[in-house]
Every structure is written in structure tokens, then in C-alpha cells.
Amino acid sequence: MAALDDAGANLLPPELADDTDDRHYVPAPCQIACPVGTDAPSYIGYIWEGKFEAAFEAITATNPFSSICGRVCDAPCEPACRRTASDGPLQIRNLKRFVMDKLGAAWKPEPAPVTREQSVGVVGAGPAGLVAAHDLAVAGFKVDVYEMTDRPGGMMIWGIPAFRLPPGVIDEDLDRLAARCPGLAIHTNMGLGRDIALEELKERHDAVCLTIGSWWGKKMGVPGEDDPRVIDGVEFLRRVNDGDRPQMPKAVVVIGGGDVAMDACRVALRLPGCEHVKVVYRRGPDEIPARGIELEGAVEEGIEFVYNTQQVEIVADGDDGLTLRCVRTVPGDPDDDGRRRPVPVAGSGHDIACGMVIAAVGQFGACEDAATGALMGADRVDTEWETMRTADPKVFAAGDGAFGGSTIVMAMGHGQRLAYYVKAFLEGNDNPLPYRTPWRTRRVPVAQDLDWETLGVHHPPFHGVGDNPVAFPEIESTYTWEAARNEAARCYRCDAETGSADYSVRNREDIFLMARTARADAARQAGMLAKRLRPRENPFPAERPATVDDLVFLPANLSRLVIDPYREACKVATDLGSGRMEIAQPLFVAGFDNAPVDVRAGVAKGVEGGAAGYIGVRPIGGGAPWVQLVLPGQIAPDAGAAGLVHAVGPRFQAPAALGRLRDDQLLGLAVSHAGALEEAIVFGLENGLDVLLLNGNAAVGRDWPELDGAPDLSLMRDAIRILRRLNREEEIDLLWFGGLRSGTDAAKLIAMGAKSVVFGMTVALAAGGEIVGDRAVVFAPDRGEDERARAVANILKSASGEASMMARCTGKTNLHNLEPEDLRALTLATAEATGVTLAGKH
């Protein structure tokens, strides 16, 4: 679906799957924070449900490197998680890893064939390049990726040590990529400018993407850094990731506070000879850019952090080692990026002795190719963010090599954006709709976990450097299923409806935004107001039928005294047929004539326990009074029945053999059709009948007719109107069957004029019935008779309790004192069908 975003303007083309036009969905903060728009709430929900394949689909739908991300994504979703402010964020990355470890290796994706003539050349097989290649290949283009090293992956393999990302994990993703994209070829050992030229690629391909990365470490710019014992962090990691395990000096200092610094210091610690590693960082612990979990891991492994300290010079102490000359810093004025600039403190000079300095103070991109060089600025390809274009109309760029150092997942997001604009270009669309990350939801129900509010953050076991550090064993385990499920249960589900009508997910998000937008920000205020002014969908469209749901009770307040619904008595005892039948509460059960024997036995006991009566073609047994439903030409009236109700067809015909078989037998008619109503009433009154059973769900000859939907309430309205017109309202008792699901529903029908009501489907559900297929009910076999009996008695008790609660709210001490005037209708359709006044009218 084409989507309308919050501002009401940002449409996406239809091929980008996006669900933001679903009014019951708002992308959660975690999903918005994810550069590739991962539907985290859905996969978290699926994990809780144990639906791992569905979770896998949600994870991988927008992320070809899900196995890698499950290990090493910097997970911007987690700080965005709203539970962070409460008791800690959902461990979204670990949950992803759990699923990927379960299914990632074995999964065989559907291949996406080449369907187009055009081809694209991609330079650099890092996360940006490979994601762009993937998206373009899936779109049907032939894609060739040129990689200067001997393997694909870019910083995902060269920048991240094996103790965080074992090689097998990388292979999982690459294998899946290969299987998914038969039209994607990766050419290794093909350096741009070394092995191939840009001009050549432009000839070979219809478009070229430069995703060359930011591969080279920046200099610190201090005297002495040319000493061979001063090395650059990315180069150091590359060597080690290529298999090198160099002998280290005892003491190593790493300079910098980013992810490269974190990996470098932890690698150094694991290498032979190294006993102590210090990280020197010029700002404080609150400003360090390294991801929390990396930092904590490093600290836990014994690495020392020296904050607010800046290197000024490196002095060689002959062969013995190095002296790092430093000053202390204090935070000064904010920089361009908003962070406070570290200011050296006069007279704070001090030395740190070590055997090696690893500089991890930033990277830059470079390329030996002349034509590419012409497209580059100081250290990256000049690229326009709005189009991903370079100065060359056929050449696009993305990733760190275009926009500076970032993270794997951000580079992947660039790759998606790049693919979008390249595709538009190749399709001849010069003016595509502006790209934004599409957001999907899989509409997974909220986890039904009773402990979700109290379960705390669960971290998987952390192993640190392990027994044999130089082998780089993995630092952390995968969740167990139980741990994953507990963690998944914690999700707030910011994306989903919680069941509140007025505080729907959209309304909540709007309020949330209103609470975070300054009044002075007139532009955003205007945008929010515009959004809030949009009307909701009409919840009562013309096709919505009249329903008992759209009736409400008027509570007593000042004009009447409320009867305390918790404590004070309200009579529910019911007398039918002027004393012929007395039951403790105005409830009957019907519909079990053809139910399995054991179900009938349980229901019979339950009806008795619930102090109700039973209406059926044949007796159900047990001690509850049985009212026989007499069908023309079928089972003859039974003298043992407490009552006889003769069914009347769509056109009224007086039943044959009408009469009581004993004096105290209740006698009546069952009417299902408006057409027969008037004659049946007149006949009933003339013949002194006791009851008229009105059937609002008139399905002929079928079990569970209530499954047809809302009952026809107008039958009750018309019956009362006819009786009033005849001025004989008190002379015959009305029973109602159809669509009653609670004591509240029962009270509504009683208020409308019923003396007693009949439950069918509700009791079936209580007795273990499940609705299957098209209007059939199947009873779970695993319930015992007593269990069914208890459930039936309970549902009848709760119905009676709820009905009397409604009566007490309206100020009645007898359920039978409810009257139509105690009701109001919420919709015109229901007002019409019931004759009840619309709420708000008097």
C-alpha cells in the first residue's frame, strides 16, 4: 500500500511495503530508530509465541545481514526502547541473535531471478554496497560487486574481531545472500584504480555505485606518532582479522572512544604478551561514543579507561617502550556537533608509559582511481543525500565512503536508500518520491505474559576473554528459549493497539509528541494540530447492524439513589406464568439437543448448579427444570416437562395439540419471525398462554444459530409495541433467545421487556466449545463432566451477578424493575431497532 506519513505528505511508491496507513499501527520507536526499519515489535511478539520462522521472516525482510546484526549491530533500537526509562531496554539485538542462531544457518530463501536487462556495478562489498546490491538484485537487476580485498563483508569482517563475530556467522548471511540473489556476482581482489577503472565500470554497467567505505585510519596529529610502535586501529584490526596474532608488549594504550577503539583494546588484551591495556579518551564517560555493551565488556575484561585525557606527544624511550605525554581536559563550550569540546587544563601534563599506542581516532575514505578521485572531496565521495548522486550522472554513492564513519546498520540503511534512487534512475524516473525507510507491521498480538511488568532485563552469560584468549572464543552465549521468551514478554508494544478505544495507538503517539514539542515551535505545533484535526473514521457506518452492544444503562446519581452494586441486595428471583414456574434467576440455557453425551451431562449439572432452567427438544437430565420445545410433527409434548413451548413458523399457524398436560405446566409459543408475531401474540392472549419465547437468531434446523451474528432486536421492540397497543403487557411473559453473551446483555433484554432470557452459545463456550470453520462448534474432549458443570454454573452465576449489577447501578433493587427508560442507544440504527432513546436526548 502506498502510505501516508504523519505529515500527510510523504508518500512512498507502492512497491515499498509500508503499513503506516493502517490506523491501528504506528511504527514503534525501536523500528523508527532502525536504519533499515526492522519490524522489531513483530519479531519480538513472534518469539514470545514460539513462532520462530515468522520471527525470522520479520527480521530478515529488510536486513540481508541479520545474523551479523544479531551479534554486532550497534542496535540503535535499544536506546530508543521506551522501556529504557523504566527498568532497562528490551534486549532486541540478543533476541534477534536467538532467532538467527536457531534458523539462520539452515534457511533457504526463495531465489529472486534476474528480470531486467540493465546491470549495476557496485564498488565495495561492505554493508552499504552489499545491501544496495541485494535490493537491486531482488528488484531484478543484474549486479556485479567489485571488492578490493579477498573476501566480501567490508568492515563487517575486517573491522570486527572473531570473539564478537565468529566467521561462521558471516558465512550464514553471505550464503543466504547468494541463494537469494542469483543475479548478484561478487568479484574479489578487484580494487578500483588498481584492478579496474571507474570509466570501465561505467561502460559495463548502466549505473555505478561507489560504496568504498572509510577504510583508512586518521592520524592523531601529535609529534612522535610516526614511531613504528604507534599503529592505526583499523589497520591493526585488519591484520588480526586476517589471522595475524602478533606478539604484543606488556602495556598497550588505545587512543579514542569509538567502536574501533573498543575492538582494538579488547583484541590487544587477547594477544600474546599483552598484560595491560589502557584506553585514553579526551572526553568523559558520559560522552564516550562507544556502545554501552562494548564498553561494559571491555571494563569487565579488565581494560582501564582513562577519561578526560588528551595525548599531546609520543616519546620513544629507545627500545624499551614509549611515553605518551598527556594533559587532562575539562568540558568546554559545545562544538558544532553539540558535544562539549574538551579543553586542556594548564599544568596538568603527565606521562603514561607503554609499549604500543593504537590510534583509533577516526577514519577516512580514499581511492586510487583518478576518475573516482575527481568525484571526491577531502576524504569521501561528494554525494547529495537527497538523491545519492555524485557529480557524475551515472555514478551514485553511499555508506561511510560517502557520508563518513557510521555503523554497520546505518551503512545498510544507506544501501537501501541508494538502491531506491538507482532503481528510479534506471527506470527513467528523474523525479522519484523522496525516500524514507518503509515501515511494516505483521500485526502480532501482544504477548499474554502475566509477568511482563516485573521481568527485568536479562543478559545472556558473558564469558570475557575465556580460557584461551588468543583463540578469540566468543564472549557471549545465545539466549535459552526461556530467557528469550521472558525478554520478549517485556516489550511494551508501542506499535500496537492495547485495547483502548479513545487512547488508540495513534492518539497515544500524538499525545506523546505533544508532550515533547515546545509550544514555541510553531511549525511543529501547526503540523501536530493539523494531524489532530483529522476526524476519526466513523465507528458506526450505515452497514453496522443494530446491536445490544450499542445500548447503555443510565446510572442513578442525584435523581435516584444508586444501590451499592458490591453489597446491597437486588432480587433476581423470577416467576413465570403467574406462579406456574418459579426460578431463582431469570436464566435458561438452550441449544444442546445434539451436543455430545458427555457435554450434555456436564451442562445439565451446570444448569442445575447455576439455578437456571433448560429449554430443549428433549430433556437434558439433571435436576434443573426442563421446558420442552415442541416442534410440529416431532416429539410429542411430555407431561414430565416443566413447560411446553410450541415453535411457530414464519407464517403463524396455531399449533396442534396445544394444551397443558398438567396444571402447573408452563405453556407458550416460540416465535422467530416478525411476520408471525402479531397473530401469535393475539393467539397467546386469547388462549391464556403463559410465555412467548422470542428468538432473535432464527436459523432453521441448525445448531448454534447465534453464530449468524447480531440478533434481530426489533422482534422484542415489536412484541412490546403490540402488547402495549392491546394494553395487555402484563398478561404474557416474554422470553428472549439470541445473541446474549453476558449478564449485561441479559439485563438489556430484560429492560426492554423480557421476563427471562435464554443463553445458548455463551454456555457452549463456557462448556469448552470452540467455534470452528463456518459456524460449527466443537467441544474440546479434554474436559471432564464436573469441569464443564463448574464452568457452566459459573457463567450463569456471573451472568446473574452482572445483570443485577446493572440493575443496581440504575437504582433498582429488583432486576425485573429495569425498564426501557433505563437504557439509551448509542447509534441511530440501534435506537430504531429497539425503540430506545439515543444517548444525549431526553
Partner: protein, 650 residues
């Protein structure tokens, strides 16, 4: 000793003089009391007050520490809500003697009327003669001593406390039982009698709560609400939510309880639109500076009105339903925004009082946390008759939330599943209510606006009673209001929608020509400045926001308030969970939300061509649904729904 002769003095002046004298430490003698109501209400100093004759309703009510001596008889509501101090009545007392006392000693030498000691919390109520029916009705604590006959249904629905009966037991009340006495407690009773020089030789029997009612074997299985949007359309009549509901009730055999607001969509202010385009170009950058929004509420009858910087209040929400931290955040935000906050049921905390600029004190039938000192430090009083979410019910607080501290502030036993009474002991009709309102005004020197909170029901009648009973304003709460816990069926199916409530109220007041005699604060499901302006257009003088403010302050609307372990620390009393809530941070969010509401109100008012919120009129609206058109008597213009998302905004 100051002598006050009531034969020629209004009770209002007399009470002023009694309080002045008491403040000066002087004892008071009241001559010719002539059974006048409210004698000595509001006294908060430990002086002797001698009433030479009989007193009417609420004698010694809403007091702390004075010692009253009434020579003859008293009317109903003796010592209503008296904290410390004592009352000795020489003759008989009417109904509900010692109602809601919280430590006072009340001695009636003669007989006492029905429902004596109703909802009392602490202290001793002694009746030397016979009691009428239902003595100790719904009492929460304290000690009642009856030397004569008990009357029918002694201890009816009592929750706590003890009743010592010296005479005949006519009958025990529901959920009350006789238990053995201990000699130490009998000695204490006898010592009390000695202190008041009352001879008694007989034996005592003791009546306490039996603990059988309102306690359930099977706990309700807690589930996270299933959102269901079609709800009751034709095809899904037996939907998953219904099935779940039937299943759970088939396990517990009773109604379900849940928190938060309604699950069903109802006619709402959202079904109205503005007749004119709300053109952003006309709004400008700072509409707030161009629109007069200051609103005074509650000054109709001479009290000091609430003075609000915009026609918005915070809806009543209790400390109890919400954590102390959450209440504090709301209070801080309301103070920063210059609007009024409301205590809800259950008392006022110092932190809340200090943080809120203007604070309304809510008073319920259970008299939880209700006392003269907090009334005196409030800026407005509110009598709760019912609330939109669960009209017909008092507050409900599940045991998990009734902590020791909370029980202390409310004056109830800790750890009970609290189901507050549905009615006030002393408001059984419109006439009682007039006298009750008068008592509140007497006790607080007519300084404070007195309002009534009505859950929307028979508004056509109820609002007329409210205006005739002289309330300064009414808080009209539609069924879209939320609550911390309530019967699920009641939340969905009792009451009328907020839009219906305001329309019916306007019609009713117009029909008796009294619209200008009372102010209306509308609440229940209002969420933003748009809803606010629509409410004002329909006639409300101000609106109140409850749930929306809570959501602004971090609520995730999980609808599990009743469980008591709120994940965000808002609707919980669990210290670990509450610690998750950062009051100051969330106060800032709530304040920012209120300021956005202010911006929206101003922007719409300005775009409609007005300079003052009071210029808003019903004619500024049209209806987008046939129901809204019918309810509000507005033209039905469905075409405006499709006229673009924000008509002329872009």
C-alpha cells in the same frame, strides 16, 4: 468563655465567631441553639464548646480537637468526620451519629439513630441507650460501644473495627460475626466509660467483620486486553474478546475487573468538525498571545474562584490509583501551566499540595482521607456523586495497591480489596445535598468553590438538581472517562458518552433558564486542544484532562492499572516499580503537553476568527456522523470528512 446567642444570629456569623474564639483559646457557650444545623463545624482548636440545648445536623462536624458538650439532642451526622476531640450529647442523636470519625470520642447518653458510625475509621462511638438499625454500617475501624439494644443488622458490611454490645442483639448484619472478647479490651472499654462517668455493670459481646463477603476463592486470571475493533459488527459477534471474556468468567463465576478506559468506540467529540477551515496561515506563530484564555471557575456564589490560565483542569485521579510520584508529576505540571489539579479520592499529600498551584479536594462517600485540614488548604471542594468510567460505584482499589502508607492516609485497614461505598452516608437525595453543601461552606468559611462530580447518566435531571442545590460548578464526566479499577461491564455499558452528556446538560439548563447559574467542567475522553475547543463550543466553561495527561507523562495505555504492578511506575504502589518513574522528567513532559494543548486551543480560536475562548459557540461546529448530528443538534456534513486531512492547512 465567649457566649454566642443564636436567637438573633445567622449560623454563618455564629460559626465565624466560634472559630475566632477557639483560635484565641477561649471556650464557647452557645445559647438558644434551637436545633440549628452545622453548629461548631470547622473548629480546629482544643476548646470546650457548650451547646445549651439541642443541635441540628452535623453538629461538631469537620472538626479537630474541640470538646463539645450538647445538653440535649442532636440531629443527624453528629461529629461528621471529626478527627480528635470529643462530643458528649446529653440526649439522643439522629441517624449516622459519629459518621466517618477518625479518632474522636463521641458519647451519646440517650439513643442513637440508624447507621451510626457509618464508615468510621478510628476513635470511639459510645451509645448509652439503644442503637437503631445498621449501627457500624461499612465501618473501617475504631470502636463502637452500645450499652443498650443493638437494632437490626448490627455491623452490616463492616470492614474493620470492633463493636462492643452490652444489651440485646437484635440481629447481625451481613458479613458481621460475634467473637470472643479478651479481658484487656473489656478493661479498656470500662476505662473509657469511667472517664465519661458512665456506670455499667453488664457484660459485653463483640462483633467484628466476618470476612466472607467480597472475598473470592478463584482469582481472576489477568490478561492483557485484546484489542478488537469490529467489536460487535455482524460477522464477528462472537469474537475472540468475547470468547476470552466468557472463558474467564466461567472460571471465576463473577464480573471481571479491569482498569483504564473503555474498549469500545462511542460517539465522541471526534465526530464533530469545525465549520470553518482551521487555516494555519491565519494562526501565525504565536496564537497564544492573541487569544484571551484566562478562565475563572467557581465564583458564582461568592467563593474565591479557581483562576486558570486556560479553560483546562486536571481530572480527578487518586493517590492510590496512581503512585505518589505520578501524582506529584501531574501536580508540578499543573502548577507550571497555571491550571488546577485535583486530589481524586483518598486524600491529599503534602507533596501534591506543595507542587500544585491550585488544588481541588475531592470528597467521596467512603470519606477516605477527608478531613478539615486538607479542606482548609484546598482551593476548591468537590463532592463526588459518581464518575463517568463506573457510575454507580465508589472507588475501587485492589489489595495490591492498599499499602500501609496508603491505608494510613485513607484511614482504612492495609491490604484490603477496597471497594468504596457507592453513596455518601448523608446524601440520600437532593435535600440532603443542600445541607451537606452548606456544611462544607460553613466549615471553610464560604471561601472555597464547591462542585459536584457527576458520572453522566440521567443528566437531564441530575444537572437541574445540581443547579438547584447551589453548587458553584459541576464536573460532568462522560463514560469515556478512565479509572484505576472497575467492573469491566460497568465501564463499557453504564453511562452516556461525553458528547451526549454536555448536550443534554445544556438542553436541561436552558429549559429551566438556569444556564448562567452554574459552570460546567467537561471531562471523559478528551485528549487535546481540539477536543477541548469542541467541548467549549458545546457549552462547557472548561474541560479536564486525565488520561491524556498521564499518557503525556509516560503511560503506555496497557490497561493493566488494576493489577497494581504498573510497568512504568504510574499506577502502582510497589516501591520498586514506582522507582522507575522520574517525576521531574515526566512533569516536564506533562507540562509541555499542556502547553501544546494551550497552543491548539488558541490556534483554533484564532482561526475561527475570535480573540477570546468565551466567544466559541455551538454553531462553530458541524457533525460528521448522523449520531453526532442528532445528539448535538448540528447539521450533518459528511462531506467535510473527505474534504482533505486538514482542510486548508496546507
Amino acid at each position: 468563655m465567649v457566649t454566642i446567642d443564636l436567637s438573633g444570629l445567622e449560623i454563618r456569623r455564629a460559626n465565624e465567631r466560634i472559630r475566632e474564639a477557639a483560635a484565641a483559646g477561649e471556650s464557647v457557650e452557645v445559647l438558644n441553639p434551637d436545633a440549628r444545623h452545622h453548629i461548631g463545624v470547622g473548629v480546629i482548636h482544643p476548646v470546650d464548646i457548650h451547646v445549651r440545648g439541642s443541635a441540628g445536623y452535623f453538629c461538631a462536624g469537620l472538626t479537630d480537637t474541640p470538646r463539645f458538650h450538647v445538653e440535649s439532642n442532636v440531629g443527624w451526622g453528629l461529629a461528621d468526620n471529626m478527627y480528635r476531640g470529643s462530643v458528649v450529647v446529653g440526649g439522643n442523636a439522629g441517624a449516622i451519629a459519629g459518621v466517618a470519625i477518625r479518632g474522636a470520642e463521641v458519647v451519646i447518653k440517650g439513643n442513637m439513630g440508624s447507621r451510626a458510625g457509618q464508615v468510621m475509621k478510628k476513635g470511639t462511638l459510645l451509645c448509652c441507650g439503644n442503637a437503631n438499625f445498621m449501627a457500624g454500617y461499612m465501618m473501617y475501624g475504631g470502636r463502637m460501644v452500645i450499652l443498650g439494644q443493638s437494632g437490626e443488622r448490627l455491623g452490616e458490611d463492616m470492614t474493620g473495627g470492633e463493636i462492643f454490645l452490652g444489651g440485646e442483639l437484635r440481629s447481625l448484619g451481613s458479613d458481621a460475626e460475634l467473637v470472643d472478647t479478651e479481658s484487656a479490651e473489656i478493661d479498656e472499654v470500662l476505662a473509657f466509660l469511667d472517664r465519661y462517668e458512665i456506670p455499667f455493670k453488664g457484660a459485653f459481646r463483640k462483633v467484628v467483620n466476618a470476612g466472607k463477603k467480597l472475598r473470592y476463592g478463584a482469582a481472576e486470571r489477568q490478561v492483557r486486553s485484546i484489542p478488537y475493533f469490529g467489536f460487535s459488527g455482524d460477522s464477528d459477534y462472537w469474537n475472540r474478546k468475547i470468547q476470552e471474556d466468557v472463558y474467564i468468567k466461567s472460571q471465576i463465576g463473577r464480573y471481571r475487573v479491569r482498569g483504564y478506559g473503555g474498549a469500545r468506540e462511542l460517539p465522541h467529540l471526534s465526530d464533530l468538525a469545525f465549520r470553518k477551515d482551521i487555516a494555519m496561515a491565519a494562526v501565525g506563530d504565536d496564537p497564544v498571545g492573541d487569544v484571551e484564555m484566562r478562565t475563572k471557575i467557581g465564583g458564582k456564589n461568592g467563593a474565591n474562584p479557581l483562576d486558570l490560565t486556560m479553560p483546562v483542569l486536571i481530572a480527578p485521579m487518586s493517590y492510590g490509583a496512581l503512585s505518589r510520584s505520578a501524582k506529584q508529576a501531574v501536580a508540578i505540571a499543573s502548577g507550571m501551566a497555571g491550571i488546577a489539579e485535583n486530589t481524586g479520592e483518598g486524600g491529599m499529600s503534602d507533596a501534591q499540595r506543595d507542587a500544585a498551584g491550585q488544588l481541588i479536594f475531592q470528597m467521596l462517600g467512603g470519606r477516605l482521607g477527608w478531613n478539615i485540614h486538607d479542606m482548609n488548604r484546598a482551593d476548591g471542594l468537590e463532592i463526588y456523586i459518581s464518575q463517568g468510567a463506573k457510575p454507580g460505584f465508589g472507588g475501587q482499589l485492589m489489595a495490591k495497591k492498599v499499602t500501609k502508607e496508603l491505608a494510613e492516609i485513607r484511614g482504612i485497614p492495609a491490604g484490603i480489596d477496597l471497594r468504596s461505598p457507592s453513596r455518601h452516608p448523608d446524601i440520600l437525595g437532593a435535600d440532603d445535598l443542600v445541607i451537606k453543601v452548606e456544611e462544607l461552606r460553613e466549615a471553610t468559611g464560604y471561601r472555597l468553590p464547591v462542585s459536584v462530580k457527576l458520572g453522566a447518566g440521567r443528566i437531564h435531571d441530575d444537572i437541574k438538581i445540581a443547579v438547584k442545590d447551589g453548587f458553584d460548578f459541576v464536573e460532568l464526566d462522560g463514560m469515556q472517562g478512565s479509572t484505576g479499577a472497575g467492573g469491566a461491564e460497568v465501564m463499557e455499558y453504564v453511562g452516556i458518552p461525553t458528547i451526549s452528556a454536555i448536550c443534554e446538560a445544556e438542553t436541561a439548563l436552558a429549559s429551566i433558564g438556569r444556564r448562567d447559574d452554574i459552570e460546567i467542567v467537561l471531562m471523559g475522553g478528551l485528549r487535546d486542544g481540539v477536543d477541548a475547543v469542541k467541548g467549549l463550543c458545546l457549552g462547557a466553561d472548561a474541560i479536564a484532562l486525565g488520561t491524556a495527561a498521564i499518557i503525556a507523562g509516560g503511560c503506555i495505555a496497557c490497561m493493566q492499572c488494576h493489577v497494581g504492578q504498573c510497568v512504568t511506575g504510574i499506577a502502582t504502589q510497589d516501591p520498586e516499580h514506582e522507582a522507575r518513574y522520574k517525576s521531574k522528567v515526566e512533569a516536564r513532559h506533562i507540562y509541555t503537553f499542556l502547553e501544546s494543548v494551550r497552543w491548539q486551543i488558541a490556534a483554533i480560536v484564532k482561526a475561527l476568527g475570535y480573540a477570546d475562548v468565551r466567544q466559541l459557540r455551538r454553531d462553530d461546529l458541524v457533525a460528521l456522523t448522523p449520531e453526532a448530528a442528532e445528539i448535538a443538534g448540528l447539521p450533518y456534513e459528511p462531506g467535510l470528512r473527505d474534504a482533505g486531512p486538514f482542510r486548508a492547512a496546507g
